[in-house]
Symmetry: C2
Subunit: 526 residues, 2 copies
């Protein structure tokens, strides 16, 4: 992962003339893609860890596994939100962890946490570094120092029980590496969030991640059968059975704990044989409400697509759904939807037929395989596009929520209006696009993409828009985050989300497992 942008340098996206003209004409952006930045010229605040402290950490994990180089620290200075990237590119001195500690086993983690608890050191667990909510910010809070606890050495397939369809995965495995190890034995996890190529298994669990195939294989918490978590006051293995009535599900307390309650070192997940067949199909709906009603009918009928998405008119209009063709082709209006089905050939065909009948009956027109294949091809590339837009002087960011089907239209309008007003008031009227990417029997997610010109102070510009959107989400009955997690950025809305009692419960759990409060301070828990 690059220090100042998403992913692989070779995949950098050159903006097409179509996009450039869209930016210039519609959003008033003066395109300038000549910017270039140099990692070595970024100024980091100096590490405050003493020689004694570094030696003590090296004593636990080995000298090779404690890093304090400029590059080590810069790469763990934060995640990949637009705010992170804007900050990275600024000339101001930037905060970074005082050291990067890379433990090799649970016992080393326990000893690091113990040392940190006794020596006023905050600990930020680090997986793939893909947080878009400030979950990795090196917040010092009341502590003397902060370290990044990098889990990359927890990178093995610990066990695969094919009869039960359960794999035990090291938390530091990236998405592709986990799929590779499972694939060698004919299995797949099926968790493909946009961060898939870089994010880790532990990160998926810590953030309640949801992948593009969630309609078929579930959200990551649905896949999790159990977790091993190391805390400053001991370890826990959650989940003794596929289901249990032995009290509250404590696994659900650590899934989504974002490094504030413990360090996840192993995840037991549900896996399935690599599917024989995948069938993709594109659909066009005359408008978003019609399309949403069609998706609802499919999911409520129990038809079980693997993927089911719907782009609104704006997103369809600029062809954002297929990032390779954005702004180049134009579709004939309406709203693009994608479905995929997976399984044996017969199983897949039957379900696709059932869904097809429902989508047609609800006003859909099939566009054949191509749009689905295009989407699949480019489905991890949107972050590269954002980088190029930022490079070109545009502001681009995404945010997401979810609600019940009965409230989808209301919430979509509320968030679109809030974003449009907040950015227009700053002189940068935006293009706000939206899609449904995750469907449930009772509701759906809404994923917004915003593009506009940058003001002179793009960080505060976006903060104003984000605040307006968050307030609108809460007022309109949505959740503050459907799959990006809370981190620093959504923490102001947590009391609205879970109430005063919910906050007190989280604080009580935190105090029980992390009495010194060293684990990822300033995140999640208000």
């Amino acid at each position: 992962m690059q220090w100042d942008r998403w992913g692989d340098p070779d995949k950098r996206k050159v903006l097409s003339d179509g996009v450039k003209s869209l930016l210039e004409q519609a959003l008033g952006v003066k395109v300038d893609d000549s910017r270039n930045l140099d990692a070595d010229s970024v100024v980091l605040t100096p590490s405050v860890l003493s020689e004694r402290g570094l030696a003590a950490l090296a004593d636990i994990v080995g000298e090779d596994h404690v890093g304090t180089s400029h590059r080590d620290r810069l790469l763990r200075a934060g995640g990949k939100s637009t705010l992170d990237l804007l900050r990275r590119r600024s000339a101001e001195p930037q905060d970074a962890p005082d050291a990067v500690v890379t433990p090799g086993n649970d016992d080393e983690i326990a000893r690091v946490l113990s040392y940190a608890s006794e020596n006023s050191i905050a600990v930020v667990p680090f997986g793939g570094g893909t947080s878009v909510v400030g979950g990795l910010d090196p917040v010092r809070d009341r502590f003397d120092a902060v370290i990044s606890l990098d889990l990359r050495r927890f990178d093995t397939l610990v066990d695969l029980d094919t009869a039960s369809g359960i794999a035990v995965l090291g938390s530091g495995l990236t998405g592709p590496r986990a799929e590779e190890l499972l694939g060698e034995q004919g299995y797949s996890l099926g968790h493909f969030p946009q961060s898939f190529l870089f994010a880790t298994i532990g990160g998926f669990a810590a953030t309640r991640s949801s992948g593009q195939a969630s309609a078929g294989y579930g959200r990551f918490e649905d896949m999790v059968q159990g977790l091993r978590v190391v805390t400053p006051t001991g370890s826990i293995d959650t989940g003794r059975a596929p289901a249990s009535a032995a009290g509250p599900d404590l696994g659900e307390l650590f899934v989504g704990s974002e490094g504030t309650l413990g360090v996840i070192t192993q995840v037991r997940v549900r896996v399935h044989p690599v599917p024989e067949t995948t069938v993709c199909e594109g659909w066009n709906f005359p408008d978003f409400a019609t399309g949403a009603a069609a998706l609802r009918a499919v999911v409520q009928a129990g038809t079980m697509p693997t993927v089911m998405r719907l782009s609104d008119e704006a997103e369809t209009g600029v062809n954002l759904a297929t990032t390779d063709k954005i702004g180049e082709d134009s579709v004939t209006g309406g709203c693009l939807s994608i479905t995929t089905f997976e399984g044996t050939a017969e199983h897949t065909a039957e379900r696709a037929d059932e869904a097809r009948a429902i989508l047609k009956a609800h006003g859909g027109t099939s566009l054949g395989e191509e749009p689905g294949n295009d989407w699949e091809h480019g489905r991890f590339d949107a972050p590269y596009l954002r980088d190029s837009l930022l490079d070109a002087g545009a502001l681009c960011e995404t945010l997401e929520t979810a609600t019940n089907w009965g409230n989808v239209d209301n919430l979509k309008t509320a968030v679109t209006t809030a974003l449009t007003s907040a950015l227009s008031e700053q002189g940068t009227p935006p293009l706000v696009m939206c899609h449904i990417s995750h469907t449930y029997q009772t509701g759906a997610s809404l994923y917004f993409t915003v593009v506009c010109g940058q003001t002179e102070h793009p960080i505060s510009q976006w903060r104003k828009a984000k605040t307006a959107a968050g307030d609108a989400i809460i007022a309109a009955g949505g959740t503050i985050t459907h799959h990006h997690a809370v981190g620093v950025d959504h923490r102001p809305w947590m009391e609205d989300e879970i109430g005063d009692l919910g906050v007190r419960v989280l604080r009580a759990v935190k105090a029980a497992v992390d009495p010194a409060g060293i684990l990822n301070p300033g995140k999640l828990i208000p």
Copy 2:
């Protein structure tokens, strides 16, 4: 519900000659079904609540809603486990709540909890009274008195959002009443545990109940979209969206909290249109392992039956699966399995066909519709049979667990052996029967029924057997309870189940929401 036995007096089961001869010949029970008991002759310990205390409670909920009569107290003296029923029928003085308080709204509950916190009164929330794990025992612990908090007045369908498929149900609604209210609008919840006819919506949530149609509609926690819970330190509404990444799922902390963390007053649940079609089918498998592998293949293929069960050879042999015919007909050996599918006619037919092909390929022989219909007809009647067996001088009880598919055979053998040894050592060799009633992609539940003769001290006789079974479950990697919950009876194994850290987490949450510890003391949390 009767005070000393299950359910409706008119449904009392007369043991057939076949069952009587089975009991006498195989288990050495001397059948004597002439016993008859009189509620008024049961001796309850006197209520210790002062006039002042009763007046204060009446001041909150109204005089008509504070009961101290013999019958009020006797009916809330406990649940319906075999230990409960044996205790009820004994001549010893029995403990009972000092009063039964029946609040009418959340505010009254908050005030009762506040009064109880300040006046050393333990509070046992009461729904349908069907606990089989001692969840309703009037444990006084360190408190001066104990009251039963009866939720029967929370009995309305508060809201039905048909677009989202979400109903808001009062926690005191019984299963049939909830289905009736939903059915009037064409909807169904689809939660049918054996306790269905008497248990309540709040009880389903408080105990992580799982119904017979869990393969199709999910466990109760899967249905729950949100809860309203009143605690001594405030209220909480969980669940703002169908899914969220806004931190740990606090709903999952209150689902399964068994009245120890708060009083559930409303439950928002996923509902579905009343299915057009239900198709039942019976299957025979040569042995349990073959049948289990077939069920596993169906669930892992994503075929989604509504119900899928498998009785072992012993249970099939005495025809326990169809309680109306127990001991009367004999099947031709092997293992009986039942599947049902629900939905539109076409949807149902396609899925039933897919399952049929898989079951056949895995060694199953179809028995047609009849066994499935027989099972459906008698599916809530097993508790009546247990009463008649107890009346006749036999000991009969059930227990259940769950594990991964790869561990099903091992766990089944371990529990069967433990029960058989523990009861044989006491001179009462048992008949131990087992079935799978809940299936998951990664594993299944195992439900055991034990019948044997009674010793002179049947309570201690069963305690020894239960201890042996619980120890065997933990040693063999199962969960101590798949759907009966913890209560008093499974509490000794909670630390094995969730670990020392898990226990500390539950205690921390308890201390935060119920600092005086008045809520259902002695249950769930060690």
